[in-house]
């Protein structure tokens, strides 16, 4: 494995793959905080040059986190198809990039090759791609999934209704949900982040969302984003959950900090298949985001792009209905400004899609980041062009419980109109029956939440 490159009149020598991977990243404050980022722009380019010439075999043979000590590595390693890997093991990362972007490479080809790649290879190729590369390559990949309805088809942009409330007030959540539905949002999921992490509270929220779905015959799925153990307790006591949710990290000890491991996920998987209310086969919702491993001091000197890719390798095991990266939630010490957030959003979406995940993105920022709503408009348009499965819908983009800004009901409606995208077909038919949408456009009554009262 060649770890040196000659450039700018000198030789850059890197000590291992981990260092190359980290320094080949676009600038991220999180890698700087971890002390693993490139010193300067030249060193960054040198690392990219080295990375471009490494083979996929090099990457697989030099695991950043050995499967013997890390169960996330084990899950990823066990999923690699050896026959397909053998076909590509001598490809360089540069060749992989060019293959993905070739006109002759389409959805089917990518789907096949993805089975021979591990998460580190996926991260490596992302590091060599420009933003527009990431958009184009991702836009080729179609990942459809089915819980109660199908989403992810080409030309479809779904939305998660996220009607959170600062004290988990059921009427308050219901009010925001009515508003979402009246804008045609909620086909990805009706998903609520609770303040109170108790089984009773989760059960009450699930029951309410289910009741509204039943009353208005809404073709969608519900989920409450509490800790997995709390959801399991609620489901065991009879709560109607179409899906289960969990946040993932890209290392075993990162997951330990979330209070989860593969065994627990397996147990939850079995429970939702046996006692969930969703049709399936896709019954999981995962969230990820660059930087969470570093914040838990569980990064092992690995850069945040690679660790993020490893989250997707883990998520893939459970055939989720939806996955999203909460890209700008984590704060400026991991993604400092809008430039870094936009880059991370495109990387995550591409890396997830290449691992055949139904990727959505929480296009978002916090108030201590150097970003504003205009930056979110930009990223949302880029992701819509890249074929993102869904984005998040919050009233006026302002989440009054989690205290950050995401994308709004209006934004999703606008992206659909301007980019000629449609809601999930089953959901659109329902919107037409309700008189909210006609021929893919909102009608006069759209935006009136009282139609559900």
């Amino acid at each position: 494995m060649k770890l040196a490159a000659a450039a700018f009149g000198r030789t850059f020598q890197f000590k291992d793959l981990k260092e190359v991977m980290a320094k080949a990243n676009e600038e991220k404050s999180g890698d700087q905080l971890a002390g693993i980022a490139a010193e300067d722009a030249k060193e960054r380019m040198a690392a990219k040059l080295v990375l471009a010439d490494l083979t996929l075999g090099d990457i697989r043979e030099h695991p950043l986190l050995p499967p013997e000590t890390d169960e996330v590595s084990r899950v990823i390693e066990e999923a690699v198809n050896e026959k397909i890997f053998a076909e590509v093991r001598n490809w360089t990362v540069a060749e992989l990039r060019e293959y993905l972007l070739a006109q002759s490479t389409g959805n089917e080809e990518i789907r096949r090759i993805s089975r021979g790649l591990n998460s580190e290879m996926v991260a490596a190729v992302a590091k060599l791609m420009t933003n527009l590369d990431l958009v184009q390559a991702a836009s080729k990949i179609e990942v459809t999934t089915h819980c109660n309805i199908t989403i992810g088809q080409r030309g479809i942009l779904a939305g998660r209704a996220q009607p959170n409330h600062p004290t988990d007030s059921i009427p308050g959540m219901t009010a925001s949900l009515y508003e979402a539905l009246s804008y045609g949002i909620g086909d990805a999921v009706i998903g609520i982040n609770p303040v109170i992490d108790s089984a009773d509270s989760v059960k009450a929220i699930l029951a309410t969302t289910k009741e509204i779905m039943d009353k208005w015959r809404i073709p969608t799925q519900n989920c409450v984003l509490a800790h997995i153990k709390t959801q399991m307790k609620a489901i065991r006591s009879g709560a109607p959950a179409d899906m289960v949710f969990q946040s993932l990290a890209g290392s075993q000890d990162g997951n330990a900090a979330f209070g989860i491991d593969v065994r627990l996920l397996d147990e939850a998987d079995e429970l939702i298949r046996r006692e969930g209310t969703g049709t399936g086969p896709n019954l999981w919702y995962f969230e990820t985001g660059q930087g969470s491993e570093l914040s838990a001091e569980a990064h092992h000197g690995i850069d945040q792009v690679t660790l993020e890719s490893r989250c997707y390798g883990l998520a893939r095991k459970y055939k989720p209905f939806i996955v999203n990266t909460v890209v700008g939630f984590i704060g400026p010490e991991y993604l400092y400004d809008s430039k870094q957030v936009i880059r991370a959003g495109l990387e995550d979406h591409f890396m997830g899609k290449l691992q055949q995940l139904p990727m959505g993105v929480d296009v978002c920022y916090t108030n201590h980041m150097k970003a504003d709503q205009n930056d979110m408009d930009n990223l949302a348009v880029l992701l819509a062009a890249a074929g993102v499965n869904y984005i998040i819908g919050v009233p006026m983009a302002d989440d009054c419980m989690l205290n950050y800004q995401s994308t709004s009901y209006h934004d999703i409606a606008t992206l659909r109109e301007t980019m000629r995208l449609r809601p999930a077909p089953a959901f659109e038919q329902w919107l037409e029956r309700m008189g909210i949408m006609e021929n893919g456009r909102l009608t006069k009554i759209a935006g009136d939440p009282t139609i559900f009262m």
């Binding site: 905080l33 409330h165 308050g172 201590h368 659909r416």
Partner: protein, 298 residues
């Protein structure tokens, strides 16, 4: 048990009341009186102020709602920005501007500073962390956890060592939170210490602090318990929210789960004066149980 009123007297009183209410004519008067005199309008007693986009009352803009009254009910049930209506698929101009105003307030509170006269009011001297400047503070939270050498020296020379309770205030991510809440939280906290018979050391202010700055301060002063009042990451609903972090014997290496926290302290959330009063209760329990965070039973 305190002196109990003889049951006879009580019964007589309850029954007198009951009879009064049961009598048709009286009941009628009582009921109409209630209807005619609703709760006194407290808004009327407030001085008039110029209408501001940032604190104006929320009103729905849906032009022809299916159920007008229901719309009011929805708005009253949540602080979320609903009933906002649209032009095409975009929000109305006023709503967009209101949103941007709230964001502007939040940004400014991150980059603001706490007025020194407020700190003087409570006799708080100031030390700094190695944060350098706001940009660095945001990128390097580790620097906000280290007090400068000069600051360490000042703490050593000015503070009583090994206090039972050490109180520290920091701007954190919102100087505005300190400005808005310190006058309510701090004296109420001091009263609660007194109520529980706890003694406090010498309080001070940390500029550019992060939560874990509690640990090095713990090493220096060795308090039994430490309370850090610190500005939270501002949201759009308010940029004035403060947290109180409490820890039993904080030292280097203390983990997050060893800290007990009360968050969302501001006048629209956890009432500042009540939060201050409750801190004494929590500290008392920490001292009794000799632990804090997830192991503390409240």
């Amino acid at each position: 048990m305190n002196p109990v009123i003889p049951i006879d007297q009580l019964v007589d009183r309850v029954m007198a009341e009951l009879e009064r209410k049961l009598a048709p004519s009286n009941a009628a008067t009582a009921q109409t009186a209630k209807t005619a005199n609703p709760m006194p309008d407290i808004a009327a007693a407030l001085p008039e102020v110029a209408e501001s986009i940032t604190d104006g009352e929320r009103i729905a803009h849906v032009p022809d709602p299916k159920w007008e009254e229901g719309l009011g009910e929805l708005l009253a049930s949540t602080p979320a920005r609903i009933g906002v209506w649209r032009c095409g698929t975009r929000p109305l101009t006023k709503e967009v501007l209101r949103f941007r105003c709230d964001h502007a307030a939040a940004i400014d509170s991150v980059y603001g500073t706490v007025d020194s006269s407020l700190l003087d009011e409570f006799g708080l001297f100031t030390v700094e962390t190695r944060f350098g400047n706001t940009e660095n503070y945001l990128k390097r939270p580790d620097m906000g956890r280290i007090v400068t050498d000069e600051g360490v020296e000042r703490i050593r020379s000015r503070c009583a060592a090994k206090p039972q309770v050490q109180v520290v205030v920091s701007d954190g991510l919102s100087a505005n939170a300190v400005e808005a809440n310190l006058r309510d939280v701090y004296p109420s906290l001091m009263d609660s210490l007194q109520a529980y018979g706890l003694s406090a050391g010498t309080p001070f202010f940390v500029r550019g602090g992060r939560v874990a700055v509690m640990d090095p301060i713990g090493d220096i002063l060795q308090p039994e318990v430490l309370v850090l009042l610190i500005g939270e990451r501002p949201g759009l609903v308010t940029s004035q929210s403060m947290s109180a972090y409490m820890c039993y014997r904080p030292r280097r290496g203390t983990v997050e789960s060893d800290r007990t926290v009360i968050s969302n302290i501001h006048r629209g959330g956890t009432p500042p004066v009540e939060a201050g009063a409750y801190i004494g209760t929590v500290l008392k329990k920490m001292l009794e149980q000799r632990t804090s965070g997830v192991n503390l039973e409240l």
